[in-house]
């Protein structure tokens, strides 16, 4: 009951937020939109890291693939954004599958470095495949989405779009991780060998995690391309991957709401710290260390993981 009320209040707030922020400044609306983009990215990565336990350091590459796919389709083929969005997601998901298939044999840090390498390779392809990507010059002039003949021109439209995308992402991933799939992923995260000996195919679920994570990164990328109307390789660097990773961990790996929280913290904090100019990065560094020390399992860690695979089947859950 209390939960429903809370959900309702949050929903109402989110709906009127742009009006409130519109009064303050466009900038904060932009920040909120960025939170949305990173929430999708970190929720996707959470499936890979928080649930399947696969250490992936190349998430920005998927984000980039989504953005470039969308940009190229929108610029060269004049397709509707509403068609491009799912296509970009599917193509990116396919890349997730492609990456996942060979590397699932690797564990821990070995996987980390390979995904990092994958991320760099993808970025270098963006940089060097000039005929298609225009290399470091990037792709400018990506057309804005249209809906019923109405062109998205302001931030408010993009805000509602990202809101819808975040909600869909949350619901879909939430259902997946709270199903048998999620349970099996958790098992693999904890003990892969054990998983095998109770009948779970680790490879299947690892690839699935990569595919799901990449799919949603593709959505975020496509949105970003349309929103900024320009893509260039420097937005998809290794540091961006690490940043998304930090969002997952800080918010609490294995908890989707945590990912949104993590994205919010790590998008807002640097913006707030702009007021201290020279000391900005120094304080950001300190802030990250302090947050981790005080919340080693993230703000909403594992403990908040809802055991609702069995939903109402068992009442009185929790501790």
């Amino acid at each position: 009951m209390k939960r429903t009320v809370l959900t309702f209040i949050i929903a109402a707030l989110l709906l009127v937020l742009p009006l409130l922020l519109g009064q303050v400044s466009d900038f904060w609306l932009h920040v909120v939109i960025m939170i949305g983009v990173f929430s999708i990215l970190s929720m996707g990565l959470n499936v890979i890291i928080g649930y399947a336990g696969q250490f992936a350091l190349g998430h920005a590459a998927f984000y980039g693939i989504g953005a470039y796919t969308a940009a190229l389709l929108l610029i060269h083929y004049n397709l509707s954004f509403w068609l491009v969005l799912p296509i970009a997601a599917v193509i990116t998901g396919f890349f997730g599958f492609l990456l996942g298939t060979p590397v699932i044999r690797l564990r821990g840090d070995y996987l980390g470095i390979v995904t990092l390498g994958f991320g760099e390779i993808v970025r270098l392809i963006f940089v060097n495949w000039i005929d298609v990507t225009r290399g470091p010059m990037g792709l400018p002039g990506i057309p804005a989405p249209e809906l019923f003949g109405f062109t998205f021109s302001g931030k408010i439209e993009f805000y509602y779009l990202i809101l819808v995308l975040v909600v869909i992402t949350y619901i879909v991933i939430n259902r997946i991780v709270h199903s048998g799939i999620g349970l099996n992923m958790l098992t693999i995260r904890e003990d892969e060998r054990l998983a095998e000996s109770i009948g779970i195919r680790p490879n299947k679920y690892k690839i699935m995690a990569f595919t799901i994570g990449a799919f949603f990164a593709g959505i975020a990328g496509a949105f970003w391309a349309a929103y900024i109307s320009y893509v260039s390789p420097d937005a998809f660097r290794y540091m961006d991957s690490v940043n998304i990773l930090a969002m997952v961990i800080l918010g609490g790996s294995g908890n989707l709401a945590g990912s949104i929280l993590g994205a919010s913290i790590l998008v807002i904090t640097p913006e707030l710290l702009r007021y201290v100019s020279e000391y900005r990065m120094l304080l950001l560094g300190l802030a990250i260390v302090l947050m981790m020390i005080f919340k080693p399992t993230g703000f909403w860690g594992e403990k908040h993981r809802k055991l609702n695979f069995y939903g109402k089947a068992r009442k009185g859950e929790g501790k």
């Binding site: 690797l106 940089v127 080693p296």
Partner: protein, 290 residues
């Protein structure tokens, strides 16, 4: 040209290896990837610069001082940023390390500025030409010192009591403590050694390129991490081999294939090697006994 390229590659490789050694030290014992390691290397390099330029000490003294101060910094970082997270998931210190890295870079920028700084020593610039190959003094120093440090470290870890105790600590903190090992001290020691090695690498690189700057740890860190993994993370000869291999691959692919794609090629090779040997070239296979 081939021989010259091999020499070039070997030198870069040795530098990667030296940084990778520190990586492997810390990784070997705590099983965390110390993302801040590259930045510790940067700090070591700046400290070397400071001792040479401000205190006018001889080069070898600069090496020693910088190694000591950097070791202390390494220990401090471990105490403040990693130790409180000992019980947390292995991935958590990684993020904390990221914070440390950001912090170190900005501190360096505040103290030393953002510009690239030259290294105030004339040592190392003398060159020798043998046939078609030109080698500089500093390249020779890098090769020799790296080998000495590696062999010394390997003997220390494998043959001494303290070394064995360090390895015990890396396997299980609890069980090592039950044998009377001061695990905290072992961890501090690993950080100290890793950081001191990074400082040595930092100074040598500073001399080699005659350039020190706050973000120098970034690429170095990634390359060293790659080298450590390629050779088998946690293995000292592995770090060495991985570093040298990476350096050679970069030089040769740059020379004969494409300079734009040389990182692509070295990552591709890394991936292929790992697919064949999932724990790196000299890495130990995971014990598979239930």
């Amino acid at each position: 040209m081939l021989l010259q390229q091999i020499t070039n590659g070997l030198t870069i490789g040795m530098i990667y290896a030296l940084i990778a050694l520190g990586y492997t030290m810390v990784y070997g014992i705590l099983k965390i990837v110390n993302f801040a390691h590259g930045d510790i290397y940067m700090v070591g390099s700046f400290l070397g610069l400071f001792f040479l330029k401000e205190l006018h000490v001889p080069l070898y003294v600069a090496f020693i001082f910088s190694a000591i101060v950097t070791a202390v910094i390494g220990i401090t970082i471990e105490r403040t940023a990693y130790r409180p997270l000992r019980k947390a998931d292995r991935i958590v210190p990684l993020i904390s390390a990221l914070g440390v890295s950001t912090f170190l870079i900005s501190v360096a920028q505040l103290i030393w500025g953002t510009e690239m700084r030259p290294f105030p020593t004339t040592f190392g610039s003398k060159t020798y030409t043998v046939g078609t190959v030109t080698v500089s003094e500093i390249q020779i120093l890098i090769l020799v010192l790296s080998c000495i440090l590696m062999i010394g470290l390997q003997l220390f870890v494998k043959k001494t009591k303290v070394g064995t105790a360090m390895r015990a600590t890396s396997i299980s903190l609890t069980n090592a403590a039950l044998l009377g090992i001061n695990t905290n001290r072992m961890i501090s020691l690993a950080f100290a050694i890793g950081s001191a090695l990074a400082a040595c690498a930092g100074i040598m690189v500073g001399i080699y390129y005659n350039a020190v700057y706050p973000t120098m740890g970034y690429m170095a860190g990634i390359n060293a991490f790659t080298a450590a993994v390629l050779g088998g993370i946690g293995s000292i000869p592995g770090a060495m081999l991985g570093g040298v291999l990476l350096g050679l691959v970069e030089a040769l692919s740059g020379a004969y294939i494409s300079t734009q794609y040389k990182s692509v090629i070295s990552f591709a090779i890394l991936i292929i090697v790992l697919l064949i040997r999932p724990s790196g070239i000299l890495g130990k296979k995971e014990i598979n006994k239930v």
